[in-house]
Symmetry: C2
């Protein structure tokens, strides 16, 4: 492997000059530059990243921080991120934090250790002080699926999405609409289920409809939990005619539960999900679609331009309901 010294010697210049042409920030005489470039080409020189990092006190990698990989939606976003980052030639490091401790540890490693050039946060809420740390460590950050104050974020309006889903059911004549979602208090502080429920409540209120408290069921995340919650919903005296699940994963649990109850969808009960994950079309689930893969691509593109020095704004993404076969008119 050639080093910068080899290049300098071969080109008859000093190492400083070579460094300057590589980084291209400072000015170098055109012919000197050309000569150095030629030698670099000939020697197939490529700078040693470790040396570079040591000297500059930061890596040029991009770190992708996710709460977990097993979630279909997070996974789809990650795919988009990786796809868009590929062309940049930067190293991509992956950190998963599915507990607050792991999250804090990851942040500590980022700001106090590897100091990546950029950080891509997917779905994981971060505290103000964390964001301040990131900023003072000069780690350019972009968030996807979570609005972080002062950080460009690629998001959808979950409240509007909740309204959309609910209104869709209302438009089809449903009045008794149940909600199945995640608990408000979660260790990692996810807000989307809560916001979608807010939208649900608003839509109901806007239609002049009250909501019985028993129609709203929340629990810790997971399909099995949704299964249980649905059972409770179904054993109500006047059970709802439709259920809005705050995510597709929950909707699948709802669907299972309904089947286990000997009822059929959509004849006996309608179900609408949220996210439109890859599985949804296979199951025929009607769902509020948000562009998952796309969000990853857009987020990564935003991060890349941030690193390029151009400011970027928040990117709002729109929501549509994809009609399939789990909702019927009433």
């Amino acid at each position: 492997m050639a080093t910068i010294l080899d290049v300098a010697r071969e080109a008859g210049v000093g190492v400083g000059t070579v460094s300057r042409v590589i980084n291209g920030r400072e000015r170098v005489a055109p012919d000197t530059r050309a000569r150095v470039l030629k030698v670099i080409e000939r020697l197939e020189y490529s700078p040693n990243q470790s040396a570079r990092s040591l000297s500059m006190g930061r890596t040029d990698a991009i770190c992708v921080l996710v709460p977990f990989l097993t979630s279909a939606s997070v996974n789809a976003r990650l795919q988009g991120v990786v796809e868009a980052l590929r062309s940049s030639g930067r190293e991509v490091t992956l950190r998963v934090a599915d507990t607050p401790e792991q999250r804090d540890q990851a942040i500590a490693a980022i700001v106090g250790g590897s100091k990546p050039a950029g950080l891509m946060v997917i779905s994981l809420p971060l505290s103000e002080v964390t964001i301040a740390e990131l900023r003072s460590a000069e780690v350019s950050t972009v968030a996807i699926d979570v609005a972080l104050p002062g950080v460009p974020s690629v998001t959808v309006d979950d409240v509007a999405g909740g309204k959309l889903a609910t209104q869709y059911l209302l438009d089809r004549g449903h009045r008794a609409i149940g909600f199945v979602g995640d608990d408000d208090e979660q260790k990692l502080g996810f807000r989307s289920s809560t916001n979608r429920r807010l939208g649900y409540l608003q839509a109901m209120a806007d239609s002049g409809l009250g909501v019985q408290p028993e129609y709203i069921k929340t629990g810790p995340f997971g399909r099995e939990v949704a299964h249980r919650l649905t059972r409770e919903l179904l054993s109500l005296e006047d059970r709802p005619t439709a259920i809005f699940a705050a995510s597709d994963t929950l909707a699948f649990g709802v669907l299972e539960s309904v089947a286990a109850h000997g009822l059929s969808v959509p004849e006996d009960i309608s179900v609408i999900g949220f996210d439109d994950v890859e599985l949804a079309p296979y199951v025929g689930l009607t769902s509020v679609r948000q562009p998952l893969f796309e969000s990853g691509k857009l987020g990564a593109a935003a991060l890349l331009s941030l690193l390029d020095g151009t400011d970027v704004d928040d990117v709002p993404l729109s929501l549509t309901v994809v009609e399939r076969s789990t909702v019927s008119d009433r």
Copy 2:
């Protein structure tokens, strides 16, 4: 951030000694070690990875090399890998190579650049010379879902799997069995489809059955292609009563195509897939199951012990058919 010099000064020892206690290979007097350890604790010292890498000429990260992220099976394996690697505290870098050029570029970056401590190869065949390069760069490597000569590999026996699937259909009375798979000649050299077809042919031969060449359809990877191939199969004069798809992804395409043809599964035609991806149960696809997530975990564990200095063997994984609702007796 404290440096090794701070620790040395504070503990009243030389930097060499601190380095020795950190790395723990060479011997240091017990009380000296204790003293240094205490200072490290107090100063919350953690070694600068860039400096370490520069000095040692290698990173302590683990690189995961995949052909693409969008494949459900590769994705599931990756999840297992990340899960198992998490506890190691090592940085995980992700490289995707979906063309031979990208693969070669990734390898060049690995052996000539970042020099990670370990490399986890998922599903991607590598040439002998590549493997030699890796070895001479002292990058410990473990492969998953692909047998690399001289590299510990976590694999299933695809030929046996092909036989298993075919025998399952034969046992249910099918005699006219079609095969839908990937082309043999693929740019990245995947072998599993070919091997599964070999198993299919063997099973047929073992039962004294011949196979009409038109029953075997292959094409470039993808669900749409499977769709087309199936159409060809279905328009045959004496069309098969069952189809073995070399992967679940292909099987989904087969299923779509059958439906588009106005036929129903399994009444008119049976279908069996391979892999048992996350989607399979939702679609009710009968499939040859291989432990995807598990393979990732095992591979990562093997890599970790390799890095620990303990030799590891190949890990063979077993196959079972998961009966669902796409195969019926004949």
